[in-house]
């Protein structure tokens, strides 16, 4: 069998699947499903990178995205409290803006792909992609990657601290209160309290 023909067929199938699952991220109705569709899309992109002989980056995509999407699904469910992500919910907002932004970025990226001239640079014989990547990451570009890593970590911790300060149903320090069944009504599902309890809603 002709190897390059086989690679082309696999590439086209993977690319179509990546686009399809990427589209499903926005059309599905649950945060957990959306995360896992995005994971499928990233896994297929990782497989395409393996076709491009990026042996480390392709495989790294699998485990990075596996953990990342799992954490993302977990945090979204934790913060949104849509019961466990199984209840249907609308996954998109700001429809007109996002449709416009989507079409614009698609046109720009498609034009770049179709109109630019890509250099023809076959892999040099004897190139070891893994060790050359390692030398790049921990050699000349070390300062860039390390500082980017520290900035990302600080951002993640900061975002969690800021967003956990105020929960969906009120300040995190005071204990959360469910919303009323009618706008401005009594909190729903709260147990009857003794009049002497002082009106606090703390759990003990």
């Amino acid at each position: 069998m002709n190897t390059s023909f086989f690679v082309d067929v696999v590439f086209i199938l993977l690319a179509l699947f990546a686009v399809y699952t990427g589209w499903r991220v926005f059309r599905t109705d649950s945060m957990v499903r959306a995360s896992f569709f995005l994971l499928l899309s990233f896994i297929t992109v990782g497989a395409i990178m393996l076709l491009l002989s990026a042996m480390y980056l392709g495989v790294a995509m699998f485990f990075m995205m596996g953990v990342e999407m799992m954490v993302m699904a977990l945090f979204m469910v934790m913060f949104m409290m849509n019961p466990a992500g199984l209840n249907p919910m609308m996954m998109v907002h700001q429809h007109k803006l996002s449709i416009g932004a989507g079409i614009a970025s698609f046109v720009i990226l498609a034009a770049m792909a179709l109109l630019s001239r890509f250099p023809v640079q076959p892999l040099p014989a004897g190139l070891e992609p893994v060790s050359s990547l390692g030398n790049e990451l921990l050699g000349d570009s070390m300062l860039i990657f390390e500082s980017a890593g520290v900035v990302l970590l600080a951002t993640m911790i900061g975002v969690v601290v800021l967003s956990s300060q105020r929960g969906r149903f009120g300040s995190a320090q005071e204990g959360s209160m469910p919303p009323g069944l009618e706008p401005g009504g009594e909190p729903a599902g709260m147990p009857e309290e003794d009049s002497g309890a002082g009106g606090h809603h703390h759990g003990h």
Binding site: L39, V59, F63, G66, L74, A84, E128, V130
Partner: protein, 308 residues
């Protein structure tokens, strides 16, 4: 070419999956017997009769499950186990999938197993299964870091991410002696990735079966088979990373790999029966406060050893 690169590797992986899972079930029965637990049948027949019973049992369905996840999760878990097993080198040339980053691919198998086990519990749309799923994510995120540090430790003397190179680097001294913390920590990862014994938080009895509480019939058989298959794949990776893989005197390499895998499986089956299940909160504390720092020490040890 097709025979060499497709048929033989597939046969090798499938034969190891089937044989390994059966032998693990037998070893588990022997471990149970060694603690004085009565076995209803001969330990050699018990796994077969349980499998036949599950095959003939009715397959249950919950109300409004996530159909794709519900149907696919057991099969995906089994697929991940098969991918892991395909990476194990049986000798210098006899490897089903020989890539330069096979150790990283095993790391991906561990990471994706978390997703698949979560999916199994989440997709059922019942509360005990869901609690099991969330517990497993907490466990998975904890053991993955330990596993990464321990495995980075074995790549340092090999100066490569390929499992064949990792074995070749143990020609003089096996990693189990060179990095004494490595194998004990990695065995804990093995018990966690198959939620067995002390780390059975996902499918535990306090959740009446956890993520697989509603799963019955052939689907349950696939799930239990996949759990065992993942432990077989894990024993192959542990053999390769710490016990010198195919290296050994007198016997041919593949036989050494098989014997070492069986030894690892026997130890894990016995440990799984010996230790009681720990509560989730204590388990997470243990992982982050004790085992993770130990894996740092293992990595520093490996680094200093590689520099000397």
């Amino acid at each position: 070419m097709i025979l060499d690169q497709l048929i033989w590797p597939l046969l090798l992986v499938f034969a190891t999956l089937g044989g390994g899972v059966y032998l693990l079930a037998v070893l588990d029965g022997l471990a149970a017997r060694s603690f004085g637990l009565p076995q209803a049948q001969s330990v050699w027949l018990l796994p077969l009769s349980r499998g036949a019973w599950l095959l003939s049992q009715q397959a249950n369905v919950t109300e409004a499950p996530d159909w794709w996840g519900w149907r696919l999760a057991p099969a995906l878990y089994l697929t991940l186990a098969a991918i892991g097993l395909a990476l194990v080198p049986w000798s210098r040339d006899w490897v089903a999938t020989d890539i330069t980053t096979s150790l990283v691919l095993w790391g991906s198998v561990e990471a994706l197993a978390t997703v698949v086990i979560f999916l199994q519990g989440w997709s059922a749309n019942t509360h005990l299964a869901l609690i099991g799923a969330y517990r497993y994510v907490a466990l998975g995120l904890s053991y993955i870091l330990i596993s990464m540090f321990v495995l980075i430790g074995v790549t340092l003397p090999a100066e490569s991410l390929a499992l064949t190179q990792v074995v070749a680097s143990q020609q003089e001294l096996w990693n189990v002696l060179r990095q004494p913390l490595g194998l004990p920590l990695f065995l804990i990862v093995g018990l966690s990735i198959t939620f067995r014994g002390p780390f059975n938080l996902a499918d535990s009895t306090d959740l009446a079966g956890g993520t697989s509480v509603e799963v019955s019939g052939p689907q349950r058989l696939v799930w239990e088979f996949a759990r065992s298959a993942m432990l077989v794949a894990f024993s192959g990776i542990a053999t390769t990373a710490f016990l010198g893989g195919w290296l050994g005197p007198w016997l041919p390499g593949p036989l050494w790999v098989m014997l070492k895998m069986l030894a690892v499986l026997a130890i894990l089956a016995w440990l799984g029966r010996w230790f009681a299940r720990i509560t989730p909160e204590r388990c997470i504390s243990l992982m982050w406060l004790a085992l993770l720092p130990l894996s740092f020490i293992d990595l520093i040890w490996a680094g200093v050893e590689a520099l000397l």
